[in-house]
Symmetry: C2
Subunit: 382 residues, 2 copies
């Protein structure tokens, strides 16, 4: 379904390209080192006459914005930059309005591009702005974190947080192009890289047990950089592209991508999105462990699989238990409230991604909140 091909003839390993097949809205994800310097050329190939409104955060701007501007200038592409504070708090109504008004102020038009240049937060808020300015502008994603490269930049989900919960406000708006420059990941803190890695592991856990095995054998190389890292990112993007192509608007099977996310979002919420305590990928790491232990608790999946995942995630420095979160221990009532308000709720019964073991995840719409309560009480008593 997805074309994966190597580009270039001289380099032994050029960028990899994955196509997300969505008919008229199909687009390429290009993955490789140094793509930032080719941004002007590659954008011009896809949208020849567009101006570009770059949306980024202070950290990414300091490290990489000049290089991106040079790449756009070299192709004569007119551009503005809107620089936001870094961090989850930027996924707010206030930041969205700020970005939207700056784009309008810059007189960008419907055929012009919003270029989301940053991690998941920037991709979500800039993507949402591109969906709603003049009822829809073009979007190019240039993810600079591992998490954004393997997850949030692909598939068209955009949005902001409500005070009542994460990602409750947003739009489906597919990008026209995703450029994932893997060399930019060298400037990430180890903790940020590990957090993104939790989403890579997730694809193995959903339905690719061989990919999980490969990660288990190659995680040192992936963390060290080089071709294994590019291969891991490409495999993750290919997995996501397949799921998105099957169910673009999350009417059914796309929900599998939420494996570990119901628990993870609830943990992020009770930690008040305090990145010092827990970032999204760490919530997902604990979340996938909880999901597997929950299924073992229900007798659905082998204990052994949950343990293998814990060992693997611990080895790369990720948390695997609620108690691994620094600070005050979350309360079961607060976690259950947060789970009930999460968007994956349908008519009272809870929707969870459950599993029969590694690579055997499925959507279950009828989970009883009392069962979840009993499980969480047991987790927190250990």
């Amino acid at each position: 379904m997805n074309a994966e091909r190597n580009e270039g003839e001289s380099a032994p390993r050029g960028p990899k390209t994955i196509t997300v097949p969505l008919g008229e809205r199909s687009y390429d994800i290009v993955i490789g080192p140094g793509l930032i310097d080719e941004a002007g050329t590659r954008i011009k190939n896809v949208l020849p006459h567009a101006r570009v409104a770059i949306v980024t955060d202070e950290n990414v701007a300091r490290l990489h914005l000049d290089r991106l501007r040079i790449a756009l200038d070299s192709e004569g592409i007119d551009h503005n930059a809107i620089v936001l504070p870094a961090g989850e708090k930027t996924k707010s109504y206030g930041s969205l309005e700020q970005v939207v008004e700056a784009i309008i102020e810059g007189r960008f038009e419907r055929g012009d591009i919003v270029l989301a240049f940053g991690g998941g937060v920037i991709g979500d808020v800039a993507g949402f702005a591109s969906a709603i300015v003049r009822r829809g502008m073009a979007l190019v994603q240039m993810p600079t974190s591992l998490l954004a490269q393997v997850d949030s930049s692909v598939g068209g989900k955009t949005g902001i947080n409500s005070p009542q919960g994460k990602n409750l406000v947003g739009a489906f708006h597919q990008p026209s192009l995703v450029l994932a420059d893997t060399a930019l990941l060298d400037t990430l803190l180890p903790r940020e890289f590990a957090a993104g890695y939790a989403e890579v592991v997730k694809y193995g856990l959903i339905d690719r047990p061989d990919f999980f095995e490969w990660l288990d054998e190659n995680h040192r190389e992936i963390f060290a950089g080089g071709t294994a890292r590019i291969d891991a990112i490409a495999a993750a993007c290919e997995a996501k592209a397949e799921v998105v192509a099957r169910d673009e608007m999350e009417e059914a099977s796309r929900a599998l991508l939420n494996l570990g996310h119901t628990f993870g979002h609830a943990l992020e919420k009770v930690c008040r999105y305090d990145a010092a305590r827990l970032v999204h990928g760490e919530g997902v790491a604990i979340g996938v462990c909880l999901a597997h232990r929950f299924c073992a608790h229900l007798g659905l999946a082998p204990d052994e699989d949950a343990r293998r995942i814990e060992i693997h995630l611990s080895a790369v420095g990720l948390p695997t238990r609620i108690q691994d979160i620094p600070g005050e221990e979350p309360k079961v009532d607060d976690l259950l409230d947060a789970i009930a308000q999460d968007k994956k709720v349908s008519r009272g019964a809870l929707t969870f991604i459950l599993t029969r073991g590694i690579g055997k995840a499925y959507v279950e719409n009828g989970v009883d909140p009392q069962t979840v309560r009993g499980f969480l009480e047991q987790e927190l008593s250990q």
Copy 2:
């Protein structure tokens, strides 16, 4: 293309139904007196298990909300109501956030309905909220003004105003059903009814000269109520449905619906959306007159057609000249600034809907701002 059919066997004239043919997103517009009392039944037929978040304004709530609640209760449909201040200022970021948060607070889910119960402002802000809560809920439009019944409730355009201009932020989000209760129009002020009538006339001016002739002969009956009014609304909805089906996302011919709107929006903006001076339909009335006089000025259309339109609109109490707006006379520079910021601008040249006469409108992308300036200076000097 559009099925128009009469319902009911006993009544000599039951409601009329127009289908907007958009494949999976097709929906019916039902037009007739007393539909509010059938709202529960008709909504249940389309979306059987949904809860309903009613969004309305203080005026409509006072006049009609109890009746709507009774109709929903009679079918056992669970509902909440969110009541906003009446007026264009409600199309703001603040009101949008208020509606979105109230919907989330009410624990409405993706399959539930936002019911926009009001005029164009309510339809736009509630429709936009339905597009972005949980990345998209169902939407039912129950337009209560003539303008909303013949224009804004049909076709999926939703949005709010930016401080920089009208409707610059929004989404395309089609309703699942439109219920236009023509009896509710009896509570409109004559000025409000006339404002909506300007949009009815517009459809004749775009490409239905026979409809304009019919309006010219029947406008007294339409203003008096009864079957001529229902026929006029149905004909307007049918005209709009055809345009929307041809070009849902306004990539080309849908722009024809903006006949008179570039001038009209600019006038609204320089009047700071002060309804005491100018409401949207009045802006459109002056706008279509300006568009026809502009084309006569350019030698494209006969002077005679512009005069016929002025006489017709004046007869129903609508303004036809910039000087008809009470208060300080708008300045040409301010009008040109507002036109340039309007969303129908492409790469410096202005896009206008021009015309060769009644029923002969077309999209022109290359209008020189200096020509517009010269015309406006002449208009204001008379």
